[in-house]
């Protein structure tokens, strides 16, 4: 629900035979450690890549799976989303049956913190191709989506809608029913911005300020639990203005639903690519990620789903209409801010307890 993949980095080198040989050499070094003689390991015929599914999986297939198969002959099939609990169980029980996983970046940060991911091999994956926010030791952002403000155009005209988070959290000046995701991550970021915290120094979050802003809208607030529900609230006019993940309203708006949304002051939330600890085909996993970085592939992804690339060279390959739908296209990115996934991995437990307490009133 909250996961959207789609970033990509530019691959400076062609991940072809030379790369595979290099990866194979790496594998040969790595394998004795995990107890397999390197000579017995052949290139896998097929790799399975869990991902959030739906429209996202279609975009991943077109952009990254097919292009990787064309280059290497390794077939790739998608698999249902592997949540953190599933990945942890898999790694702890030494039953890792996938090599690459597309997962929510906030989940990836927690998995990395608990030591459940392989470090990425930046000798195979050229990290200089990416926007700096995308690169982490154990995970790579895969796309850029937005937790953004949306409104119902029937019940809220453009001059009556809140223009920023301060107005969103002030129902006395901009009346109307609000909706927010019932989860502290993302929601507290926009509340903190509503309390006046600048996007350039958003972390650590001003929690007192953010909770005070939630208090301010409590009487006109509807919570949503799933991305589909968040979008439906706005489409039906059940709430007048609220937060959504941009991918959820892209098509309804195009099809004429009375909704609109803005990337102004939005929070960038991302999918990521990870390699679970103990993955059996680590070299192929890294070369898959190298293929993912190619801007040509990222452009295909962005045309299939409105999530931005992590290789900025991609934008020059896209037409104006496609770029307008991407949260981090240069024209949309002026007031947005990336979520700090590591902050939530470190502080999530404390904040969620406070959030639950606030919910119970």
């Amino acid at each position: 629900m909250k996961q959207r993949p789609g970033s990509r980095g530019l691959n400076s080198s062609d991940p072809t035979r030379r790369h595979l040989l290099a990866s194979a050499a790496g594998l040969a070094v790595a394998l004795p450690v995990i107890g397999f003689p390197a000579v017995l390991r052949a290139k896998p015929e097929r790799m399975t890549i869990p991902n959030p599914g739906g429209a996202l999986e279609e975009a991943l297939k077109a952009a990254y799976f097919k292009t990787f198969t064309d280059k290497t002959g390794i077939e790739i099939s998608g698999a249902p989303y592997a949540d953190t609990a599933k990945i942890k169980a898999m790694v702890e029980n030494n039953a890792v049956d996938t090599d690459v996983i597309f997962t929510d970046a906030a989940d990836a940060a927690i998995l990395a913190k608990q030591g459940l991911l392989e470090p990425l091999d930046f000798s195979v994956v050229d990290k200089s191709l990416f926007i700096p926010e995308a690169v982490h030791e154990h995970y790579l952002l895969a796309d850029v989506a937005a937790y953004a403000m949306a409104w119902n155009t029937k019940s809220m005209s453009d001059d009556k809608r809140p223009k920023n988070w301060a107005e969103f959290f002030d129902p006395s000046t901009k009346p109307g029913q609000r909706s927010l995701w019932k989860y502290p991550a993302q929601t507290l970021e926009v509340a903190a911005m509503g309390a006046g915290q600048g996007r350039d120094k958003l972390y650590p979050l001003d929690l007192d300020g953010a909770f005070a802003k939630l208090d301010a809208v409590k009487s006109v607030l509807t919570w949503w639990d799933s991305g589909a529900q968040g979008a439906q609230l706005i489409i039906d006019g059940e709430t007048d203005v609220g937060t959504v993940w941009n991918g959820r309203l892209y098509k309804p708006r195009k099809d004429g639903a009375p909704v609109n949304y803005t990337f102004d002051h939005c929070l960038y939330v991302c999918d990521s690519i990870v390699v679970p600890k103990g993955a059996k085909n680590k070299a192929e996993a890294m070369s898959f990620i190298a293929n993912f970085t190619d801007p040509k592939n990222q452009a295909v992804f962005c045309k299939n789903i409105p999530y931005g690339p992590v290789n900025p060279a991609t934008f020059s390959l896209l037409d104006a209409e496609t770029k307008a739908a991407l949260p981090n296209a240069p024209d949309n990115a002026k007031t947005a801010v990336f979520q700090n996934f590591g902050y939530w991995a470190d502080n999530g437990s404390m904040i969620i307890e406070r959030f639950n307490k606030w919910l119970l009133g």
Partner: protein, 294 residues
């Protein structure tokens, strides 16, 4: 068996082979499956809750030091209790009516009870959302017919959670009730009538006590199922309708804090077992005292 066979090996086979003992052997396979795939993982949950991150009761101390957890556990118990009672009140008359039916009408009624039972909980919960939301089917109808002038708040509160959960759990109550009601000999009721009991008295002193096994089974099934409800309170409830399952999910999948999740799950298990034992004692006690017509 030949007589000499028994004399030759006297103490080894004290009981003769009977069909009942043979059937008991059939239980070995399910027992192994349960032990491997249910009891062992359950034990791991309990063990994890007291061994990680360090050996001791750290996780439990944290739970009881945080008012949120205690309140949510108490609310979950109360919710399960009220849902079980409301379900009983609604199911009893339905089961009573259906138990008196015959032939195709009986099958039709059973189908009407069972078909929703086989439909996904998520779908049924979403259906209630469509009906209940601020601009949903029910509010639109009531507003346009002039019966109300402000939309009723039917969801995002306790009312919505109760309606949704009672609806989903009704079959768990109706079916055990139905089975005990259909087992009641009509002649018993006639005997009561012959002995001079009026219909109300027959019902209270004869019929109701005879259905108590069904009532017990239904209450237990509904209560225990309700304790673990997740989707319905999350979607139909408001922020205050947080159940323990929601907290366990947060700890398991979002925070990946399995020791804490295990501690919460263990508490829920312990509370459930405790209530079950209490309930069992009380019903035996009442049963022995003849209250349940035992």
């Amino acid at each position: 068996m030949a007589a000499n066979a028994t004399t030759e090996r006297p103490p080894a086979s004290p009981k003769p082979w009977t069909p009942t003992r043979g059937y008991a052997l059939l239980l070995i396979a399910p027992a192994i499956v349960l032990a491997l795939f249910f009891l062992w993982p359950l034990a791991q949950v309990v063990i994890r809750s007291v061994t990680e991150p360090a050996v001791g009761f750290e996780n439990y101390v944290r739970i009881f030091a945080t008012s949120t957890y205690v309140r949510v556990i108490a609310y979950t118990m109360m919710l399960a209790g009220t849902v079980a009672l409301v379900t009983l009140l609604l199911a009893y008359p339905v089961a009573w009516m259906v138990s008196a039916m015959h032939g195709s009408i009986l099958y039709l009624c059973l189908a009407l009870i069972l078909i929703p039972f086989w439909t996904s909980v998520v779908i049924r919960t979403f259906a209630w959302m469509v009906l209940f939301q601020r601009r949903g089917v029910l509010n639109s109808f009531l507003l346009s017919s002039g019966l109300i002038d402000q939309p009723l708040r039917l969801m995002h509160n306790s009312i919505g959670v109760h309606i949704g959960m009672v609806h989903i759990l009704l079959p768990f109550m109706i079916l055990p009730l139905l089975s005990s009601m259909r087992g009641i000999e009509p002649t018993i009721m006639r005997a009561a009538s012959v002995l001079g009991a009026n219909p109300l008295r027959q019902f209270i002193h004869v019929y109701v006590p005879l259905t108590m096994p069904g009532v017990s089974a239904g209450l237990l099934l509904v209560f225990i199922s309700a304790l673990g409800f997740f989707i319905t309170p999350a979607l139909l409830g408001g922020p205050a309708n947080m159940t323990i399952a929601v907290l366990i999910e947060q700890q398991t999948s979002r925070l990946l804090d399995w020791p804490m999740a295990s501690a919460l799950a263990t508490l829920l298990l312990a509370a459930t077992v405790l209530l079950y034992v209490l309930y069992d004692r009380i019903s035996r006690h009442l049963g022995a005292a003849g209250v349940f017509g035992g």
